[in-house]
Symmetry: none
Subunit: 537 residues, 2 copies
């Protein structure tokens, strides 16, 4: 007999409270689709009305199995729920579920809201009832519940009961300031249940200010709560929310949770977890945290010599779970043998078969190591890795040679006295023994200048002789730049994602102290990879 | 009555197991000095003999109040402790304390060591006795203790007793694979105490593979253990060790720990914690983790509008501790979700006082919202925000006007037939009514080209008339680029971090479809902000 445990994701709402994070509507859609593929129960999409992007997202939200939830706050005092315009904007998003945050800490009611304690209870009751009356599922986020309980237990519990009496499906205990420790979360949650709030209507919402958000969430479950709120990669205000990327595998793979609860997430979907975590970092242009539990690049890296040799005998000697279960992989950096088998696996993925004893393997490993020390990263640029390996194996034709290029960016006032820019690139290539000069600007349809990399890309693609047609359907879909350490100097790393009409998508990398050079190298790799696919398939 | 709780730091040993981390001897000395200033009880310096840097460090180790500890392993079977050369190298480091790791999990004894269970008990007993006989303090690291207890409780406890009988001062329960959850750590630690191992001789050593290392350490203390092992910033093998940078402030500032225990660390020293954490990142050339509890740059950042307005009334509304206690500071960043009170606070921090009813407030908020929709982000570019606000308030002098610029990047073969690049920029500015043309290349001392942004930056700074001297001490320290959505089109967002001789550090932002334009705007803001500081202070 397993109990159902519900996973509530708030990456798109509380996760957006992360300093420096601001999702666009298309980004929110991509994340929602990834969350739905993972199989979470609820997706909190934002606060409609408080934020133009959030309203646009609710209008454009994709079809999901997960239940879309709009976030808002309980109605203000002195007006009815029906006449509260902030609440109306939340309802107007038309989501099947609505989560309203309200006060439960007497100090906040009197200090932050400046209203009577009884009025706050009315606000909770009336707002939840309003959501239910509209046929929506109502959730109540009990803000500062743990601090409130410590200050005035009776009042904090009364707030929960007000929401319960108004038929909230879920009453979510929020440790808003993130300062409550796991043992306290456990016994206060147990007290709420003892006071008459059923555990199967209780949720938990923790923050990581003492690095205990995961442990506090588990403590609440142990006490009887049945919904966990959190975010992917632990995004969120201040130190972040409870990290679902850690909690989900713990609930599925570790005892007592694995046999006691059903989260609705399948083991198949769990294997996509590492990919989803990296995809989010990609959207945020963040360096993935190597040490992240389960999904980090170092999570199953065994550096200590003693550990590495034991791992070869039996991985369970130094691994608490099998990395494949979360779509991650073991790294044994010290072992040359592991390096080569790892390399052969990657080459096989690119369709290149190499014999186990081919001396090129050691050579490729050396080049990859040297390049990565210079700032290249082949993990995120498989197409460039493939070109490097094929070059070393003698399996890469020279389609064209770039003899030189020149790109100019000029900004000046136009005849209307407005500052305008113009980028222009000249590229000289040799194709089939013939020298070709191409020149291109980078103005788009709207007449605005797309910059030097765009100009170079157009000039390069313009005349590649018989190859021009083959690359006509490719386009640059993303361009990521990062300053990184190359040896002792800072260098620029550019990663370009390209796409073609056949639905292929590939990534290439360039590194240089000069951002235009780095971009040009990544661009050239992108074209060569495409030509390789077009001429050998 | 407070109990003494001992803090054992293993940054220099287990912390060095982090993928990519390799401390030099001078770096180890700097870290040891910082740990000693903080006031930890033990500094584990490394494994003498296993690693040349570790041996050199023990020879050169500084004088500290903290007890230096050498790490090693129990003697191997088939020889005496006196005749084990690995153990001898550890003893030869001459430290007052020696910590030896040994097996306690029957599966590891038979699989990894391949010896009889009784022989392993002998190894523990004889090795600890040898350390004690030499007049050193002996610690025993009980490897895989929690997994061992679950597999064969009697044997795991026998291993602890062997160390206790041989007079180990501390017996440290290690969750080597990091897979044990807090509740288990609590009840297994309690069981060890019930079985006769005194709590005041028990230590705890946790790893973060389920993001519970801090919670597991606290659970062991709650059960009666009195020594905590961990690392600064949670460095360590795989997902890292228990993070002392989080545990120390929790033990000093949070109940029940603050009144129950004395860690020997003073509140004065605690105020150096943020600095020590950043210093370690500096040594490792890592970007400090913004979301780190207590010490992260975002740990006390309040982005939500509702939070920001309450913080103005009373910081305890959304902070579990005062940031000053750990040497950190509160941030109320600008963002899409910020209200007017947040805005006034940000302006006050920049030294700008605005009346509550000034209509410029609403105007500034509108501009910020509009710009953020275009792709700007002012919470990571406070200096650009200040300039925007001052401009709107009529408090921004026009130091200079950029009339036009032109930058060229050329890549071609040099006379040695190697591809080389050269960037050159021309900038035309008007200063004090006078037009000035400057030109600059971007070759560094080594003769390599640093690219178009560098060339523009040099040309712009070259001749600003009477302002040139004022900006002579500023330099660009970081340059971040991402592609983001500006309205319907992809645009480039550039954030530049600058620094000057007075130790100021500021960030500016530029957005454009053209990366060079975006960079130039961020660069111009950086210079204008610096001029503002130099001319108004």
């Amino acid at each position: 007999m397993t109990d159902r445990l519900y996973i509530y994701d708030t990456t798109l709402r509380d996760g957006q409270q992360t300093q420096g994070v601001q999702f666009s509507t298309p980004e929110k859609i991509r994340i929602a689709e990834a969350l739905d593929a993972l199989g979470v129960d609820y997706i909190e999409g934002g606060w409609p009305g408080a934020n133009p992007t959030d309203s646009a997202f609710f209008d454009a939200r994709p079809d999901t199995n997960a239940r879309f939830t709009a976030f808002g706050m309980t109605k203000r005092a002195g007006r009815s729920a029906e006449n509260d315009d902030v609440l109306a904007a939340v309802m107007n998003a038309g989501t099947p579920a609505v989560c309203l945050v309200g006060k439960t800490h007497d100090f906040h009611v009197t200090t932050a809201l400046g209203i009577a304690l009884e009025d706050n209870l009315d606000n909770i009751r009336a707002s939840v009832a309003h959501v239910v009356a509209q046929g929506r599922e109502a959730l109540f986020d009990a803000e500062h519940f743990f601090d409130g309980w410590k200050a005035n237990r009776a009042y904090a519990l009364e707030c929960l009961k007000a929401a319960l009496d108004a038929d909230a499906r879920w009453i979510v205990l929020c440790d808003t300031n993130g300062g409550t420790l796991p043992a306290e979360v456990g016994h206060i949650t147990a007290d709420a249940i003892a006071a008459g709030i059923p555990g199967d209507r209780l949720g938990i919402h923790c923050h990581n200010d003492t690095e205990n958000a995961v442990a506090c969430s588990l403590a609440a479950i142990d006490a009887g709560a049945r919904q966990i709120q959190g975010t992917l990669n632990g995004l969120g205000e201040r130190c972040g929310n409870a990290n679902l990327t850690t909690l989900i595998p713990t609930l599925l793979l570790k005892e007592p949770y694995a046999s006691r609860y059903d989260t609705g997430i399948t083991h198949d979907a769990l294997q996509g977890l590492t990919r989803i975590s990296r995809q989010l970092d990609d959207i945020l242009n963040r360096v993935p945290l190597r040490q992240a539990p389960y999904v980090g690049a170092s999570a199953f890296a065994h550096k200590a010599g003693l550990h590495a040799s034991a791992i070869l005998k039996d991985p369970s000697t130094y691994e608490h779970v099998d990395p494949a279960l979360v779509g991650n992989a073991r790294i044994v950096p010290m072992s040359n043998q592991a390096g080569q088998s790892n390399l052969r696996r990657r080459l096989a993925e690119a369709g290149i078969t190499v014999a186990r004893d081919d001396p090129a393997l050691a050579r490729i490993l050396d080049i990859v190591k040297e390049r990565e020390a210079q700032g290249y990263t082949y993990d995120s640029a498989q197409a460039s890795f493939e070109l490097l390996a094929r070059g070393e194996l003698g399996q890469l034709p020279e389609f064209f040679e770039v003899k030189r290029y020149k790109v100019t960016v000029e900004r000046r006032k136009n005849k209307y006295n407005r500052m305008v820019s113009l980028s222009e690139a000249v590229v000289v290539v040799k194709v089939d023994g013939e020298k070709k000069l191409s020149v291109s600007e980078s103005l788009d349809e709207a007449g605005s200048d797309r910059g030097p990399v765009n100009a170079l890309s157009r000039a390069l693609a313009k005349d590649l002789g018989r190859y021009s047609d083959l690359i006509a359907d490719m386009r640059l879909v993303d361009f990521k730049v990062r300053i990184t350490q190359g040896g002792t100097d800072a260098v620029t790393r550019v990663i370009i994602d390209s796409e073609d009409g056949a639905g292929r998508r590939w990534s290439t990398v360039g590194v240089s102290p000069n951002i235009v050079d780095a971009s040009f190298d990544a661009l050239t790799d992108a074209i060569v990879w495409k030509l390789l696919r077009e001429t050998t398939s």
